[in-house]
Symmetry: C2
Subunit: 229 residues, 2 copies
């Protein structure tokens, strides 16, 4: 890892809490529809809608809101009242205005690495929402470059590397998703450190053992400092 | 203009048709609600909702869809059926899947400038939607850098200039909006060429005469070649 010049961090559930907020919103959404279907089934229907809409909406809270609305219409068979739609919009707006909770150890790690490495934020989701979270997190000053990606695949990372003028062998990605933060980066010849989070969106799960000399698993973000020593 | 090294182009209604598609969608939305209110009033209500939601949703089609839904609930006083919401979602998805219509002269201008200047695309809206339009336009190969901005103000342009490592006095912005493409760029000390479009979103209108030696008005995008000679 001696050749690493740039360290890129995923944001949601790596630097700050995200998925638990979506889960809480989803739980409340399922409650709204409890008269029509058990929570677990509503949840499955919502995931189905999200996956169908992903190519059109992309990632982020606004697409999530639109998918909840569509699911509500389908699950209630068009019979729910507009007040339920109104409540879904309120749930979504709450999610978008949620205060940002920076995860333990993050501030310290960024402070220590800054100066020795160029630090990059590489995230996906709604543009304005991610910028807002970064601004509210107070972590902005640590980053030399912010990349908000429509998809975290090899194509997206290739573009990022071009934008920051960095060779893959000098690039380390840190994040909680094997699918989005690890696999495509390793494929390009970069390094990746996986910092698991206790709760993951079903879409990010992969059933794959990773055996690659450029890959490391960390228990928490603070371990990154040891890894880089 | 001899010092210009980078030319940045706005996308919507500068490179390809956009606002007319939104207007058509809005017209159909107003028709849906014609039983509750005259079209003009629905349109005013929608604009009011959009402006209220802009700080939370930002620009783009998904925010537009959510604002239509919210307006529908308010205008119908919660009395419309869910099938109307369903139709609004369909209208929005159609808008997101609309083929891209590149404007006259654009391809030729980009081909002639490419090589002599670094060309940048600087636009706002939904990340995935703008990437899709660029890809469908077939214009991607002409651009050295794509910047999708959450807000086209001086702060946003300062960030863009930093990202592409360009001084304001070497930067020319071309676009149809005085508010988003001209005024903030002039403020930073850059150059701007305004190429008006016959139809503009009310939010982009400014009542301001611009008198600045670094500002020029063009009748159409092809005039840019003459201006740069």
């Amino acid at each position: 890892m001696k050749n690493i010049r740039v360290i890129a961090f995923d944001a949601d559930d790596t630097l700050w809490v995200n998925e638990p907020n979506y889960r809480k919103t989803e739980d409340r959404f399922c409650e709204l529809l409890s008269g029509y279907m058990p929570a677990e089934s509503v949840s499955e229907e919502l995931f189905k809608t999200e996956m169908e809409n992903l190519p059109v909406y992309g990632y982020g809270a606004k697409g999530f809101m639109l998918s909840m609305i569509e699911t509500l219409i389908r699950v209630s068979d068009g019979k729910a009242g507009l007040e339920l739609i109104d409540q879904v919009i309120s749930l979504g707006k709450e999610l978008l205005k949620k205060p940002v909770e920076v995860m333990e150890g993050v501030r310290d790690v960024l402070e220590r690495l800054n100066g020795n490495y160029r630090l990059v934020l590489a995230t996906k989701g709604d543009l304005l929402d991610q910028e807002r979270k970064l601004s509210w997190s107070g972590l902005q000053e640590h980053f030399h470059h912010i990349e908000i990606m429509s998809e975290k695949n090899t194509r997206g990372y290739r573009k990022l590397l071009r934008n920051i003028d960095c060779e893959p062998e000098c690039f380390l990605m840190v994040g909680n998703s094997l699918k989005s933060d690890v696999i495509p980066v390793l494929e390009l010849g970069g390094y990746a450190v996986h910092v698991p989070y206790h709760i993951n969106w079903a879409h990010e799960l992969v059933d794959q053992e990773i055996d690659n000399p450029r890959f490391l698993e960390a228990k928490n973000i603070s371990e990154l400092l040891k890894i880089l020593q």
